[in-house]
């Protein structure tokens, strides 16, 4: 997939309570969760961002709770992908499983300023800063995880696996 959008920069240790506060966890409706995306990190975020924009953050993005509501909220808000120096491990799994595109690249995070226009090719793991002309390469996914992504997420992967075992 190729995504194009403007960068929204965040610091390190953006936790899942900042991405989607627990006060909104009384529903799992993506649209409702999307309306409150990043609310406690930046209360105005949803008023400022536009569909397709990209979150760019430092280390340990998505730390804290296991709530899958976090990647669901980001995706439903219209964010096309998240680029970070590193991801907390449960968030990493949840993003893969829910089909939110994530890319790990410290160079890209350092080389992107707020508002820069970014183009991301998730198949190649290529991140282009169209504002500066710089090109970065994300850390590639292990083959096993690429297969889950290619099959459309964990549920399709498991469904196929169980079907082939039953057959």
């Amino acid at each position: 997939m190729i995504y194009k959008g403007n960068a929204w920069k965040f610091g390190r240790d953006i936790d899942t309570d900042a991405i989607i506060p627990a006060r909104y966890l009384k529903t799992s409706d993506p649209d409702e969760l999307g309306r409150h995306c990043m609310e406690d990190a930046d209360p105005e975020f949803m008023n400022k961002m536009k569909k397709g924009d990209i979150i760019v953050a430092d280390e340990n993005f998505g730390c804290g709770s296991s709530r899958e509501h976090a990647p669901i909220s980001i995706k439903a808000a219209g964010i096309s992908c998240v680029i970070a120096k590193s991801f907390a491990r449960i968030f990493y799994r949840n993003a893969i499983n829910t089909g939110l595109a994530i890319l790990e690249s410290a160079e890209a995070v350092d080389g992107i300023s707020a508002g820069d226009e970014i183009e991301v090719d998730t198949d190649k793991g290529e991140i282009k800063n169209l504002t500066t002309g710089a090109v970065y390469h994300a850390k590639p996914f292990p083959e096993f995880i690429s297969n889950i992504i290619k099959q459309g997420g964990l549920i399709s992967y498991v469904r196929e696996k169980m079907r082939s075992q039953a057959g």
Binding site: T27, S28, T98, R159
Partner: protein, 419 residues
């Protein structure tokens, strides 16, 4: 080459003779867990897989503990959905309000987890069960859905960090202080993707309750799991409780560690984590004058009997400051009942603390003690992120039960020695 306890448990559950950090393996699970927040999404995803039944009705546990007893209509709908799924699947281990406790206190107490188990739960604090010598880790709802269907999950074998705690513990210092100290030293991503193995004479000296509260917060250092090799105390705890046969593993002398830390616990005093990260820790002697509005003693970290006994020891014959709301939440019904028998609840109520039925409630800003803008709480919980207990303009400080109880009396963060 030798293996760590974590590598041995994972190898056994992947039906391999050995594993190496970085290996991607398929693991057979002894138990999978969900709650009223994470199970609703997992159930929807489970329906998409196309199987009728969970892999084993004895090994899928659902505990409505976060927004239960139902805090509002939406939460009631979520609890109703997981209840109906539990009935439909005839789950042996669904715990209704009245039987329910906070999941990570309840499962070890009920013997549902034992040494050598491999467990995943759709709750980040599932790492708690490492205190029993099990491998356990938190995942999201979709991973839970897949595990409910297959009884398996994929995992990357983590490298291990060894933490050696030497020396004699200072008075009233518990597992909570040791883990806050650890997170303060290595940071909130200091153990990212790694297993945290706690050893040393000071760990041997810790009660099971303290060990559970230490492993509980491995996730706050980014850890995949926390683990303590079983010893006599572990076996005393699990014997008579464990509902399945268990296996005791230990690390080989030549096991490989990514890092080794060695600390003398006689240097570790009672700890407090300042807003807004659990790594922002200070010794109580350096806490300064922090006026607070609320104290919460409870949660999957510190709502066990040892915690309540310590709180009662401090609160006995004293009263909570008039300005303070002190909320005490025994983590399970068994703990509640034992606290009643020991007279602890009487001490709390006499001290003008509010005692609640088990719930995660205020820890994640759910209910039972939400903070207004500008308010400050000291809690024995595990996270002090922005907005964690209520308004984004409120603050949460973290400590163990001794400091929390003393601070409720003083109205500010204080050591029990200063009362």
């Amino acid at each position: 080459m030798g293996m760590t306890i974590t590598e041995k448990i994972l190898a056994a559950h992947a039906q391999q003779s050995s594993v190496t950090p970085g290996d991607l393996i398929n693991v057979k699970l002894d138990l999978v867990l969900g709650n009223d927040i994470t199970a609703p999404i997992a159930i929807k995803e489970f329906r998409q897989i196309g199987v009728e039944k969970v892999f084993d009705k004895d090994r899928v546990v659902i505990v409505p503990d976060h927004f239960a007893p139902n805090k509002d209509i939406d939460s009631a709908e979520q609890c109703k959905m997981v209840r109906e799924f539990a009935y439909e699947q005839d789950l042996t281990n669904y715990f209704e309000v009245g039987r329910m406790g906070i999941e990570h206190a309840l499962l070890p107490e009920q013997g549902l987890v034992g040494p050598g188990d491999a467990v995943i739960g759709a709750d980040s604090h599932t790492c708690t069960y490492g205190a029993l010598g099990a491998f356990s880790t938190g995942v999201g709802s979709t991973d839970l859905a897949a595990a409910m269907a297959t009884g398996e999950t994929w995992l990357k074998v983590p490298s291990s960090i060894k933490f050696v705690f030497k020396g004699q513990l200072n008075p009233m210092v518990t597992g909570k202080d040791l883990i806050l100290y650890t997170i303060g030293k290595i940071g909130v991503d200091g153990a990212l993707y790694q297993a945290m193995e706690f050893t040393g004479e000071a760990i041997s000296a810790l009660s099971m309750d303290s060990r559970l509260s230490m492993c509980n917060m491995a996730i706050e250092a980014g850890g995949k799991s926390g683990i303590i090799a079983p010893d006599e105390k572990t076996l005393d705890y699990v014997e008579g409780r464990a509902i399945r046969a268990f296996t005791v593993y230990g690390s080989d002398a030549d096991a490989q560690y990514a890092q080794v830390f060695e600390w003398d616990v006689s240097d570790i005093e009672l700890q407090v984590a300042f807003p807004h990260l659990p790594s922002n820790t200070r010794g109580i002697s350096e806490a300064g004058d922090v006026i607070i509005d609320q104290v919460v003693i409870g949660s999957c970290t510190n709502g066990r009997l040892e915690d309540l006994r310590i709180a009662a020891q401090v609160l006995k014959g004293r009263e909570v400051d008039k300005r303070i709301r002190c909320i005490i939440i025994p983590a399970t019904q068994d703990i509640y009942r034992q606290a009643m028998k020991e007279g602890l609840l009487d001490i709390f109520v006499a001290a003008k603390a509010a005692v609640s039925t088990p719930t995660c409630g205020p820890c994640l800003g759910g209910h039972m003690g939400i903070l207004a803008k500008g308010e400050r709480a000291l809690a024995t919980t595990n996270r002090n992120f922005v907005g964690r207990m209520g308004h984004p303009g409120s603050e949460v400080y973290l400590s163990g039960p001794a400091v929390a109880a003393a601070s409720a009396v003083a109205g500010k963060i204080i050591s029990p020695d200063s009362l």
